[in-house]
């Protein structure tokens, strides 16, 4: 039980997917312009990453590993994620239009989010079983959401500041991310 909690905390805080492992930087920098969009994307990522981790884990344990097709995992996972995002989108559109509206355009964007594929591959690499994989996917996604929402709120403050001209735009955002990353390094002392 303790180790399962540790997987969630490790994924969300200690090995933060964005600030420590640099996965999903594209959307982290791109979408964090707006608070609302960041929160929606975060929710969509939590949703998809948890499901993708579960499906990838099952596929690996019951199809790829027994057949000795270990080396196919990159191709299979990326296709599964792409298909999954499509299915989730269609499913939500039919059954839960409210959620679909909130997540809106952010669902299809997740296919190109390397964090999802990254987590699926890391889970396999670390030899996680099904439950561990799901928790790791969930924890990582929570870490992603935390990071992007925090950056979005920092950027809403930055917008009103007088920043030296060369640093405007991307550089100041990257510097903010650097400072967040330093703060998150503090979590590496966390253990139970």
């Amino acid at each position: 039980m303790k180790s399962l909690i540790m997987i969630i905390i490790g994924g969300a805080l200690i090995n933060n997917v964005v600030l420590n492992q640099f996965l999903g930087i594209c959307s982290f920098l791109g979408v964090s312009k707006q608070m609302k969009a960041s929160a929606s994307l975060g929710a969509a990522v939590i949703f998809v990453m948890t499901i993708a981790s579960a499906v990838a884990s099952l596929l690996y344990d019951f199809v790829l590993a027994p057949l000795g097709l270990d080396f196919m995992k990159t191709i299979v996972f990326i296709l599964v994620i792409a298909a999954l995002v499509q299915i989730v989108e269609m499913f939500l559109k039919k059954t839960a239009p409210a959620i679909y509206k909130a997540l809106g355009i952010y669902l299809p964007l997740i296919t190109t989010n390397c964090a999802v594929l990254g987590v699926a591959l890391t889970n396999v690499q670390d030899g996680y079983n099904f439950i561990q994989s799901v928790l790791s996917g969930f924890g990582t996604a929570v870490g992603y959401t935390l990071a992007i929402v925090l950056l979005a709120s920092i950027r809403s403050r930055i917008r009103e500041e007088d920043i030296p001209a060369p640093l405007r735009g991307a550089p100041i955002v990257l510097i903010s991310a650097a400072l967040m990353s330093i703060a998150f390094m503090g979590f590496s002392g966390l253990s139970f």
Binding site: C26, L29, I75, T112, L117, L121, A165, G169, S181, M185
Partner: protein
């Protein structure tokens, strides 16, 4: 022959994928802890990029438009798997250093971006040069970032000691925060010394809302517009 060299120049300098278009930031930030890692990652990506550009260019008349993205992904993923197995077999130390980032070349925006924006409309020869140019531009940027981080954070360059032994290196530069800082200041320096207009607009569009393929095609369209004075002004909605 001239237009082939133009592709090279375009990839390395004019449209440097990392520094000008800000594509493929994940590997740039992640593996730039050492200059050698930068070269290794850069060249692996270059190999995949050249091959994927050529293959996609050859298949461009066969792949139906509606399913082109999945088709590209399959092509790229196959090539990445081959590359991964080759690196694992012949360069085990590089394999250990790059780790998970080798399979993640699949989702590197540069590759899908070039397939979508260039290879599916041009001949294999031109696409090859485009892949080579873009790949070398990416390698250059990665090596530059890796070199700066290695010198500041470890006191070495390509493994050789360069800072005086008595000088304590600044450890944070080889840690994750250093990656963000170094890239931020490289872009800030570039902003300060020029190449402003076009790049300025693009930089504000960092990551293009996460949809890299769409972003690259947008950039390409902007480039083809007759008036380079205000590219992407109407497209992409970069209003901050």
């Amino acid at each position: 022959m001239n237009k082939y060299f133009e592709r090279l120049y375009n990839g390395v300098v004019k449209e440097n994928p990392t520094l000008i278009l800000m594509l493929g930031m994940c590997p740039t930030l992640a593996v730039s802890t050492r200059a050698m890692n930068g070269i290794g990652m850069g060249l692996s990506t270059t190999a995949v990029l050249i091959l994927s550009n050529v293959v996609i260019s050859l298949l461009r008349k066969l792949i139906p438009d509606e399913v082109r993205l999945p088709a590209y992904i399959v092509v790229v993923a196959s090539l990445v798997t081959v590359t991964e197995l080759l690196i694992e077999a012949y360069l085990p130390s590089l394999y250990d250093a790059l780790g998970i980032y080798i399979p993640l070349i699949v989702v590197n925006c540069i590759i899908l971006g070039r397939a979508e924006a260039y290879a599916n409309k041009h001949t294999p020869g031109l696409s090859l040069m485009d892949g080579l140019g873009m790949g070398l531009g990416f390698t250059l940027a990665l090596t530059l970032a890796g070199l700066i981080r290695e010198v500041l954070g470890n006191g070495t360059a390509f493994g050789a000691q360069v800072l005086p032994a008595g000088l304590e290196p600044i450890g944070i530069f080889v840690q994750p925060p250093g990656a963000f800082l170094v890239i931020a200041f490289i872009i800030a320096v570039m902003n300060a010394i020029g190449i402003k207009t076009r790049q300025r607009k693009l930089v504000e569009e960092v990551g293009c809302d996460g949809n890299c393929a769409g972003c690259a095609s947008r950039c390409e369209k902007a480039e083809e517009e007759p008036a380079p004075a205000q590219p992407t002004a109407t497209e992409g909605g970069s209003a901050e």
